[in-house]
Symmetry: C2
Subunit: 328 residues, 2 copies
């Protein structure tokens, strides 16, 4: 039984497998996304910082009103955005809230920095808990980090997947907002994310580093992201209802199986407490063809994470198999 990291489960598909593993929408991307492709003729290098039309369009979005396209960098998903920002510092400490997204500690360490853990800081909506943070708390964090001159990296990739209220975008002189097209527009495999910061020195360091580590983000995917921004508001709104129904289904299903868990307010994860999580993740995979993620990867060794980015029938079948594992 080797459960070293989520790498073993990402992108794994197969006959009869139900994956509560990686968090990716099964919903279709907006139809606008594919409109650019047939016209494409040449595939030359793009600007390292990202296509101008895409950055311009982002700077006009509701939450970025009044910002400048020069303060954006388009990246290979939010993952690369976070990696580049951390590497641009290269030393120092990073305060992380636990539980955290599983990639945070490894990228902090790979950047030559030291992770320090707390139970109180932010990631809203949270992966793996699905919880959103109180707006007053977010404002206090804004004030505190501004006063202390601390850089605040705000990973808001689930900003459009909050069922309860609008997202509150953290801002300040040294805030780096990280975002992605993956979750909002069902484009995970295309790997388009971005970062935004008022701190131009961070932006410039990131561009310089990216010049040598990966160059431009796939130009075709950037064109597709540009088109995705043209999708009507209803594209996102329609999803909320679907996510809420799925959330209710899996939340109640797991409660009925006797598990203890938080009710998600955003994203598409549940994070129940279970007995012997390692055995459960392993047996569910090997004996019941159900993929789940180990809570330990997220900084909580008593839990497992399930993504409910699956249609209802699959969630129901998955719950049935989990029930079988639990001997019910």
């Amino acid at each position: 039984m080797e459960l070293k990291s989520p790498a073993m489960f990402i992108g794994v598909h197969g006959e009869g497998i139900i994956s509560f593993g990686s968090g990716q929408p099964d919903l279709p991307p907006p139809k606008e996304v594919c409109s650019v492709v047939p016209q494409q003729k040449a595939f030359k290098y793009g600007l390292i910082q990202g296509n101008e039309n895409l950055r311009h369009e982002l700077s006009k979005q509701e939450q970025f009103k009044g910002t400048d396209q020069d303060n954006f960098v388009i990246t290979n998903g939010a993952s690369e955005a976070i990696d580049l920002v951390l590497r641009s510092f290269g030393s120092g400490k990073v305060l992380l809230h636990a539980p955290y997204y599983y990639s945070y500690p490894p990228v902090v360490k790979a950047a030559g920095m030291k992770p320090v853990y707390t139970q109180t800081l932010i990631n809203s909506p949270s992966n793996p808990t699905g919880r959103i943070q109180d707006v007053n708390t977010l404002k206090e964090i804004e004030k505190l980090t501004t006063d202390l001159g601390i850089v605040l990296i705000s990973d808001e990739v689930y900003k459009d997947l909050i069922y309860e209220r609008q997202n509150y975008m953290l801002s300040g002189p040294h805030v780096v907002t990280v975002n992605s097209f993956s979750k909002t527009f069902a484009m995970c495999g295309l790997r388009v994310g971005y970062l935004y910061s008022n701190d131009k020195s961070i932006v410039n360091e990131v561009i310089e580093l990216k010049t040598h580590t990966s160059m431009n983000t796939n130009i075709l995917a950037q064109d597709m992201a540009y088109e995705a921004l043209k999708a009507p508001h209803t594209y996102v709104e329609k999803q909320h209802k679907i996510w809420q129904e799925r959330r209710d289904l899996i939340y109640e299903g797991l409660c009925d199986l006797g598990l203890e868990l938080w009710k998600p307010e955003g994203a598409f994860y549940v994070f129940p407490k279970v007995k012997n999580p390692k055995k459960m993740v392993w047996d569910l995979y090997k004996k019941h063809k159900v993929i789940t993620y180990l809570g330990e990867w997220f900084g909580d060794s008593e839990r497992i994470r399930l993504s409910y980015a699956l249609d209802k029938a699959e969630i129901e079948e998955g719950l049935k198999r989990i029930g079988k594992y639990l001997g019910q």
Copy 2:
């Protein structure tokens, strides 16, 4: 006059600008490349290591005969392949030949390693010189590094762009072969590269790191790379004639202008010695709208680099403007 790094020129296009800057083919990609796109419906995460069909197809290529698809990782261009390999070590020294591709020193340093320079090691065909290395020398390097247990990273992105002979692929127990679809198939902006190694521990470290730093390489671009491998041999062969003609044109043109340079045997770069390279690169750009790269970025402060991935008319116009700058 600020000539900090090539980042300022990459992806720069504009009215009347002739770019001898970044090295990217202007030739069209194989028509096979676009065949997959209209059918695409969902964009889920792919395997971190890369699509199985693409890795399988690579393992069947002439130079990789008898290898295993498990020993390949598909990356965001050759840049990311090199970055990930270096980061997977994280400390130690890296012997680099000068002149070198401008990204080598920054990625070595960003990975926490120390670059050490030599005039004698390999990069064949070479960027920026366009020269290929003698096969006997390559074999000696293979033997030396095998005997000493040294990891050898062989960047062979120009392997298909040698006019004089076939590429000699370096191999050995700790050789990491880095390659790309960018140059061979004119797909620079799509960012698909890969690495291959017999050393499975290096491959596994790279996959684990990539899980957190960028996840899968764009799945659509991987499908396009897979299709590119179906292009007939003639696609590459036809290009050789074109590159050779362009090489002759720019080589003779620069010789006629009185510059001293090597005659390229592969890739598509010339690397002439010039007076006051900084002033020349700056003035050519600002006064004559011609982009060239500073030799200093490649470890040689007496030269400038010109990519001749341009059609003949543009090369001629560019030469004319360079002649004007030189006062001829």
